[in-house]
Each structure stands twice: as structure tokens, then as C-alpha cells.
């Protein structure tokens, strides 16, 4: 059996965290010493391993209490839920990133971020063997089939409004 102090050290958490976990039922020590101190068994520690793992995945203690008693399928469903909420947060952060870049309007601010730039895009198209004429065609087709998405896509590349207008006008002119 392990004392609360040892468990706290092993998992780098405070004693009060473990007392709190006990009070909400997420980790209830299996035993009590003769002087009524909390004692944790090896199986308690295995449970704590899983609690730590789920905590590092950003799950709430409420979800963890639910998860610990569940089988594979339900576990996956909860984790998928968490994954999709992470994706939502990433999306929201990207939107904020975009707004900040727009405010700064500096090329230097774009470097070192995960924003797809015109330069990156062109280099990837080139890597796939597209030459200038093929890229021109791509704009023409894009403009013809999905004009709004074309605008949106060019905006995500951080291209200025004036240049976007030029690209789209040229694409329209060739479309006939």
C-alpha cells in the first residue's frame, strides 16, 4: 500500500488534489491505515495512471469518472467527442490568427505561423508538375465552377484584395 504523500510525489500532484479526487469519487483509496490515513493499492495506482492520461487529453473530471467504468466503444465515443471539440477550438484559433494577421498586415508576421501562404501553395503546385499555364487554367476553372470558394481560397492565402480582384478578373476574361 502507498501513502498519499508517495502517490502525490509519484504523479507530481498535490495532496489536496488527491483529497479532492477522493471527495468526488474519481479516485477512492482502497484502504485506511491503523491511524486512519489514506492508503492506495497498486490497482488504485493503475486507475490513477488512466486518470492522468485522460487529464492530459484535456477531459474533464466528470467525463473521466464516466469513462473509467466504460468499455471500448463508449470510451471511443467520448474521446471522439473531445477530438471534435479540439478541432472546433483549432478552427476558432485559426480565425483569430487570420484576424491578427490582417491587422498586422506584415509578411514577417506570417512567417512562423501555420497559415498557408501563396508562396507555399505555388511551390506545392510546382512540385506536382504544374507550370504557369496550368496554374492559370486552374484559376479560370476555379472561377468558373466556384467563384465564391475561389475568393475564399485566395483570402486564406493572405493575398491582398487588389491582387485577388486582378486574378479573378483575368480568370473571368479567359472563361469564355
Amino acid at each position: 500500500m502507498h501513502t498519499i504523500g508517495r502517490v502525490a510525489r509519484k504523479y507530481s500532484v498535490s495532496r489536496s488534489t488527491l483529497i479532492y479526487y477522493h471527495s468526488i469519487g474519481v479516485l477512492v483509496p482502497s484502504g485506511r491505515s491503523s491511524s486512519n490515513y489514506r492508503e492506495y493499492s497498486d490497482s488504485d495506482l493503475r486507475r490513477m495512471d488512466r486518470i492522468q492520461l485522460f487529464r492530459s487529453a484535456g477531459l474533464s473530471l466528470d467525463s473521466i469518472v464516466m469513462l473509467l467504468g466504460k468499455k471500448g466503444d463508449e470510451l471511443n465515443a467520448t474521446l471522439e467527442g473531445r477530438l471534435s471539440s479540439i478541432n472546433g477550438e483549432i478552427q476558432a484559433l485559426r480565425d483569430q490568427q487570420k484576424i491578427i494577421l490582417k491587422i498586422l498586415e506584415k509578411e514577417s508576421a506570417i512567417r512562423g505561423t501555420r497559415v498557408l501562404t501563396k508562396k507555399i501553395w505555388v511551390s506545392i503546385l510546382e512540385a506536382a508538375g504544374l507550370d504557369d499555364a496550368a496554374m492559370e487554367n486552374w484559376h479560370i476553372e476555379f472561377e468558373k465552377t466556384s467563384p465564391e470558394a475561389h475568393q475564399d481560397f485566395l483570402e486564406t492565402l493572405g493575398i491582398s484584395d487588389a491582387e485577388i480582384a486582378r486574378i479573378r478578373d483575368r480568370s473571368k476574361a479567359f472563361a469564355h
Binding site: S84, N87, S146
Partner: protein, 60 residues
């Protein structure tokens, strides 16, 4: 990236229209993944491709 009704199907037909075949598209994904993995992910998300398929595409 906000989504203005761009889908994978539309994107693929766009690429086919300008003469890209399957092999070239695969090569394109590979180059995208190797050079700019994060941007590749963002781009595939922008096309509203489900997570599972994104991992599949990025893994190949």
C-alpha cells in the same frame, strides 16, 4: 479557413479539368505532406473531409 461550399469532389474535378491525373494528385499530396504537414491538414479540413479520411490521405 471558412468554408464557402468547397468540397473534395469539386476540388478533384477542378484538378482533373486542368489535366491532373490520379498519379499527379497523389504526388501533390505527398509533396504537400512532406513540406507543409500542418497546412496540408488545414487545407483538407477546409474541404470538409472527415478526420478519418484526412489521416488516410496524409498517411499515404
Amino acid at each position: 479557413m471558412s468554408n464557402t461550399a468547397m468540397t473534395k469532389e469539386k476540388w478533384v474535378s477542378l484538378f482533373q479539368e486542368i489535366g491532373l491525373d490520379e498519379a499527379t494528385m497523389t504526388q501533390w499530396h505527398r509533396a504537400f505532406e512532406t513540406r507543409h504537414p500542418e497546412e496540408h491538414q488545414s487545407f483538407l479540413e477546409w474541404l470538409s473531409i472527415p478526420e478519418e479520411e484526412i489521416s488516410q490521405i496524409r498517411g499515404t
